[in-house]
Symmetry: C2
Subunit: 259 residues, 2 copies
């Protein structure tokens, strides 16, 4: 009998290869298969689905993590998935995990998030993919309270796969005095960042700006959203796809065909 | 009688403020209202929905275009829309136009595209928004063949608005010997880039990589997609929204709740 092949698991993130979140999840994943880390060599938060077209990409074979194979990549989170799947790995991964992100990627954050864009890219590359985020920006954030739930999701995805092209957006409430209530499969809440640009002056008298903003949930009363699940101390799981067509509006917009 | 207020039109792009496409559309838009250009100070293709979080943003008051107000911005296309709406403009624009992009943003390109991400951001900011792309990468590309159709869409959007949160992804076939056949309102085709990383060596013997790829349409037989419309020499219009939830899979994924 030949030795069974262990699942091949690609791990990336957007906080960079040194972030505590990627260290934590890489260790958890070692129980499930052969772990390969290909992650940005610097923080890449808010990079969305950016790819590197106007410059070239560097790879460094690093050993920050105790895993089978590891590279720091000069590109974006999506670049990391592309170069891992199409250049570094010998076969398509059985699972792509992006995270654990330091900070929420629930609701509208999904479109700004490098973490989730890497998971979407994994799904486009044909691999079951999940993005994991913790609603705590702190470098000292703890992840243990979610471990049994993450293991449940990971083993399920490895065993049953996910529908083609689909990935999961998993958000974990920050640790609280009461334990997590469980998992809720929900939809993306309708929310938005309301921005303010903070104007400052450099030592040469020229203005520069920092993007700041407040998160506004437009449907705080809804119970079937990721924001509602998180508020109730549940892990929120949203199935995400790369089709941005507003199918429900196709019929209305058809009027534009009549020139 | 007070003077009627002209529509306020914000124009941005991802090819940068010097690109021929933004010059062309800004001139067309002057017939429809007061045009303000806030566009990246350098090419930002493939930036997706990236925003600038780890550094600050610069604005330069420029005069490359013959418009009411104009700024070159050091940030991404999405940054341009955010800083225009929340800092530069005195009121919410009546229309946000992103483009005209040099190159297709049909099908899966919508998620990588800075042009379309700026349009999505415009919709999130509550303004009717359209992204326009020409299926021709050439700097010398011509846009005139589409002008009557673009004017038709622009005047319609200004008159009737768009459903809240929706934007339009407009792709124009490159000019051909036969005239454009009209406009088709369609869905995003299921397609993908199949990548290959070209490995090179720098003068110091270290490897670097260029992202290259081939576009693959997984449903060339479908007639209701943007790719099909473009192939038939029609302008393709896809209604796009920022909700990435795979609503059709919510019920299946519910199984994950049973720990």
């Amino acid at each position: 009998m030949s030795k069974p092949v262990k699942p091949l698991i690609l791990v990336t993130n957007d906080d960079g290869i040194f972030a505590p979140g990627i260290r934590y999840i890489s260790n958890v994943l070692k129980a499930f298969g052969e772990v390969c880390v290909v992650a940005p060599d610097k923080p890449q938060s808010g990079m969305g689905h950016a790819i590197t077209l106007n410059s070239s990409i560097r790879l460094s074979n690093t050993q920050y993590h105790d895993v089978a194979l590891e590279y720091a990549c000069s590109g974006t989170p999506v670049d990391c998935v592309k170069i891992a799947v199409n250049h570094i790995l010998k076969r398509r991964p059985d699972l792509v995990v992006s995270g654990i992100n330091h900070g929420s990627n629930a609701s509208i954050n999904v479109i700004y998030s490098g973490t989730m864009s890497a998971a979407v890219e994994g799904a486009l590359e044909g691999a079951p993919s999940i993005g994991i985020s913790l609603c705590d920006y702190s470098e000292a954030a703890v992840f243990h309270h979610a471990e049994q739930y993450l293991k449940h999701i990971i083993s399920n995805v490895l065993r049953h796969q996910l529908p083609k092209g689909l990935c999961l957006n998993i958000n974990i409430p920050a640790v609280q005095t009461t334990p997590l209530q469980g998992i809720r499969v929900v939809r993306q809440a309708h929310a938005q960042w309301v921005e303010r640009f903070e104007e400052r002056q450099d030592p040469y008298g020229r203005n520069y700006y920092w993007l700041t903003g407040n998160f506004v949930n437009f449907e705080p009363e809804s119970t079937d959203t990721d924001e509602a699940a998180l508020s109730a101390n549940y892990i929120a799981v949203v199935p995400v796809k790369a089709d941005m067509t507003a199918h429900e509006h196709l019929a209305t917009i058809k009027q534009f065909e009549h020139v």
